[in-house]
């Protein structure tokens, strides 16, 4: 089945996925070169989820993200240059350099922020759903969270609240098999995250998170569902192809496993589909590659050449 989307949309999705991939690769390189510091968690291998989800959303929708948030932000329309500037700790970054990789947001995009506290986005999305409902506003909240976050009490409390109050929230678990070094079988008793939906009387759906179209369709359906009937739990199976954060040797997982997942890399997979459908041609592919290369190069340039934030003024941004 060819989903009812125009050629342009599919190409746009591909470009977004590629952009996220290249952005994260650039970040890894910049870290290795010591040109940015702090921490960052690349979303390499998980691009289909971010892009597939955001394609299915409307501009009135909200997103809460995680520590691994660059991809979500870019997919939602965040400006790679300002994200990069934030990583460089520059005044032009999304948080003016104050936040860093884990703390960026843009209300105008309904992007309520990446979040350094594992699981903390869950109640925030729940409250966003509550706000939409009480204000009788159109829209849904999408809550990205990881398999590791599913062990937090906030998972339980939030799903329970949202189910009780029938809030329009899509709880979207990016199950990339690991929480840092810890495999899901050491964190998820019973073996299934999605199975827990039943306990709250809400639907739970598993999706191949490395299949952009599958994610897109699932979120589209989920969106319709939550608007009418309350929350849903969507589990997207995926794998992070890079380390957890910089300096992670991934000694806790076998090369064989990683190879297996590399074969399911969402990017070549979606590309192959595009080619097969006749949507992506050779010249088009080169054009997209070059566009992405330019965006990344410009982003790094912008970030590098941006001014440092003003030396600290104590009270700014703090209510007194």
């Amino acid at each position: 089945m060819k989903p009812p989307r125009s050629r342009r949309h599919w190409l746009g999705a591909y470009q977004q996925m590629l952009l996220i991939r290249r952005f994260e690769e650039a970040v890894e390189t910049l870290f290795r070169q010591g040109r940015i510091r702090g921490t960052a968690h690349p979303a390499i291998g998980q691009e289909a989820i971010a892009v597939g989800t955001c394609m299915a959303l409307a501009s009135c929708d909200y997103i809460t993200s995680t520590h691994r948030g660059h991809g979500h932000f870019i997919a939602r329309g965040g400006d790679p240059a300002r994200i990069m500037a934030e990583l460089f700790g520059k005044a032009t970054g999304y948080s003016g350099g104050r936040g860093g990789s884990q703390i960026m947001a843009d209300w105008s995009l309904g992007f309520l922020g990446s979040n350094g506290i594992t699981g903390a986005g869950l109640p925030v999305a729940t409250g966003t759903g509550l706000s939409l409902k009480v204000r009788k506003a159109n829209g849904v909240a999408v809550c990205f969270f990881g398999d590791g976050a599913a062990s937090q009490g906030m998972f339980h409390e939030s799903l329970n609240l949202a189910a009780l109050w029938r809030l329009p929230v899509i709880y979207l678990c990016e199950n990339n098999q690991y929480a840092m070094s810890t495999p899901v079988n050491a964190t998820i008793a019973g073996g299934s995250i999605v199975a827990r939906a039943t306990g709250y009387g809400i639907p739970g759906v598993t999706v191949d998170g490395n299949d952009l179209i599958a994610v897109y369709e699932a979120v589209q359906k989920a969106r319709q569902h939550v608007l009418k009937q309350g929350p849903i739990l969507l589990e997207c199976l995926t794998y992070r192809l890079s380390g957890h954060s910089r300096g992670d040797s991934c000694n806790y997982r076998s090369p064989g496993e990683t190879e297996k997942w590399k074969a399911r890399d969402p990017l070549p997979r979606f590309k192959a589909w595009l080619v097969k459908q006749g949507i992506l041609t050779g010249p088009e592919a080169r054009r997209i590659q070059s566009t992405v290369r330019t965006i990344i190069r410009d982003a790094v340039r912008f970030a590098r050449s941006s001014p440092d934030p003003q030396p600290f003024r104590q009270s700014e941004g703090i209510p007194t």
Binding site: D106, G113, I117, A120, L130, L132, K133, L161, P319
Partner: protein, 328 residues
């Protein structure tokens, strides 16, 4: 003129403000039909319905987290945390998101969230239902803290909280709920009370006595005794702890040369320490005697009435402290 209890003051303020601003919602355990553990929301469910008076399950962490999310997306949630001791479960969203949002995300991230909570000992509820953990929040930049001691101030400070754009911790001492006051104006007419502006309750040049919340009521009793003895104290009701009106305290200490701070919490790391430190920093030369911090001891709060009474600073302790510090 009408008299109002502290509880009624809160309830009527919530009601008036909810009528004024549809964005205000209430969340909390048993705040619906039951009206809240201390009755502060009684009747509001009937008036505003379950979409605005949200009776929550026992999930302090996610309720505060959800309220933060709701505050950042257009609502003005007021969360009732039944006992302040339960804030231990809900620190994360307050500290790591609500308090930091404006600094980190800028003005797009307004977070008009009010946490109302019952603090304080004195009713024999025991070590996990009597704590006053205000000092923790004082240490968290980005949160305003109100600690009213009278119905009038409760009304004014709550109004300001509900009309502001930043997270507020609003302290309601259990022993205050039943206290009554004659109001000079109807609740709807009482003005929002500014934060960071202390109230000088009594004027005197012998000693400054700083208190807030329930301790201010004890201070009034101490004042009655002391004034009979001819000792005139400058009594300051801080009303809000963040921001803190240091200027008024400094001005007073410059006149009196002496300062007693009455703080109900455990001594170490208490609000009283911060006050003492700031006054020393700004009025060191004017102090004729060491500052006296009157606090509870560094132990959990005992339940037995004699132990609990001994644990809490009292009017008698204040009188003694003022005697000692003034050398009378």
């Amino acid at each position: 003129m009408t008299t109002r209890s502290f509880t009624e003051a809160i309830r009527e303020t919530l009601e008036a403000e909810m009528r004024r601003d549809r964005r205000i919602i209430l969340m909390g355990e048993d705040i619906g039909a039951y009206g809240g553990a201390f009755g502060a929301t009684r009747g509001l469910l009937d008036r505003f319905g379950p979409e605005r008076v949200i009776n929550t399950p026992i999930s302090e962490l996610s309720v505060v987290g959800a309220a933060t999310g709701a505050a950042m997306t257009g609502l003005r949630p007021v969360v009732e945390i039944m006992f302040m001791d339960f804030l231990t479960l809900a620190m994360d969203p307050l500290v790591n998101l609500a308090a930091k949002a404006r600094y980190l995300f800028g003005d797009q991230a307004r977070c008009p969230l009010v946490i109302r909570t019952a603090c304080g000992a004195g009713r024999g509820y025991g070590a996990t239902h009597s704590q006053t953990l205000t000092a923790w929040l004082l240490h968290v930049p980005g949160i305003r803290i109100a600690a009213p001691s009278t119905p009038t101030d409760a009304i004014g400070l709550l109004k300001t909280a509900l009309r502001g754009n930043d997270p507020v911790l609003f302290l309601e001492h259990k022993l205050l709920y039943g206290t009554r006051e004659e109001l000079t104006l109807p609740v709807a007419k009482i003005r929002p009370c500014p934060y960071g502006k202390a109230r000088v309750v009594t004027a005197g040049n012998d000693c400054t006595l700083v208190a807030w919340s329930w301790m201010l009521q004890e201070a009034l009793r101490a004042h009655a005794i002391l004034s009979q003895q001819g000792i005139r104290i400058d009594m300051i009701d801080l009303r809000t702890l963040a921001p803190m009106d240091v200027a008024t305290m400094v001005e007073s200490v410059r006149r009196t040369g002496r300062l007693v701070i009455a703080d109900e919490a455990c001594r170490s790391g208490s609000v009283s320490a911060e006050i003492a430190a700031r006054i020393f920093e700004q009025a060191h030369d004017y102090l004729d005697a060491p500052i006296c911090r009157l606090t509870a001891p560094d132990t959990p709060i005992p339940a037995a009435s004699n132990l609990e009474a001994g644990w809490m600073p009292s009017a008698a302790d204040m009188v003694r402290a003022v005697h000692t510090i003034t050398g009378r």
